[in-house]
Symmetry: C2
Subunit: 163 residues, 2 copies
């Protein structure tokens, strides 16, 4: 049984908000976001291969990756304003299929105790049209499947530590 993911698009405001609980400690969840070998195993929908060109999630860093399935290639890039487990990650995000539409993403990692974490994400778009376009792109499938894959990755890591 997986935890639910809440995706909210507030009326009239160019934001997408995501909330998700994860049954793993905050340090492990943060590492799964910042370690390139881990992120490649869970980000995005099932059935895609994630090729990482750069994954340098620290203040002043940046990233570029390509999601591939049988049909095509989807490259993304951004720069990292700041990143720490305490204050979360603030980074830009651009899908190169729509060059110039850049969003600012906030992701924070709330320690719930008992080895559990709550993720709070906010994407801030440059206008309402690009926010609505993102919603209509089917991004919810990628987000939901991605967090299911994150659960599986963290459960497998936990099992290998316990074994």
């Amino acid at each position: 049984m997986t935890n639910p993911t809440t995706i909210t698009a507030p009326e009239g405001l160019p934001f997408i908000e995501i909330e998700r609980e994860v049954d793993a400690p905050v340090d492990a969840v943060y590492r799964a976001h910042t370690d390139p070998e881990l992120i490649a195993q869970w980000l995005g929908p099932r059935g895609y291969e994630m090729e990482i060109e750069r994954w340098d999630i620290k203040r002043g860093g940046g990233y570029r990756y390509i999601q591939r399935d049988g049909d095509g290639e989807y490259p993304f890039n951004g720069v990292v304003h700041s990143a720490s487990v305490e204050n979360g990650i603030v980074q830009t995000f651009e899908f190169e299929g729509f060059p110039g539409i850049v969003t600012l993403e906030y992701m924070s990692f709330e320690d719930l105790g008992d080895g559990r974490t709550r993720l709070h994400g906010r994407s801030v778009f440059p206008n309402l049209e690009s926010r609505d376009g993102m919603l209509q792109s089917g991004m919810d499938v990628g987000v939901n499947e991605g967090y299911e894959r994150l659960d599986e990755l963290l459960a497998a890591a936990e099992k290998s530590v316990s074994a």
Copy 2:
């Protein structure tokens, strides 16, 4: 006689928009934004000294500077998502007096011909409260005086080229 600066805060949307015409060619106006020796001569209100720690305005670059007057120090920092005269500058912006409130700034440079340029700026805030706080901070004084100083700098450069 200086050109007017238009600062707009659209009702209900977390944006501040700035428009300003400048009587100088687009390349010179862009260089005044990206060259650290030039930016230090005009950015911000009169009566402040701008100390630049880093000014690297290119894709993946970043900046940090401190505005100083008799009363205090005001440090700012950000990272640069992309920068070109054709597509403008997209960068983050954080006043370290309010750490964690990061905005995304778009600035584009429209060539009006006849050696004139129109600047279009948009700052995208993470919420309405921080946008309204910025408006109430007296930022309009800094923006207006900054562009007056930019006019003076570009006029002086033009004069020295013509001389």
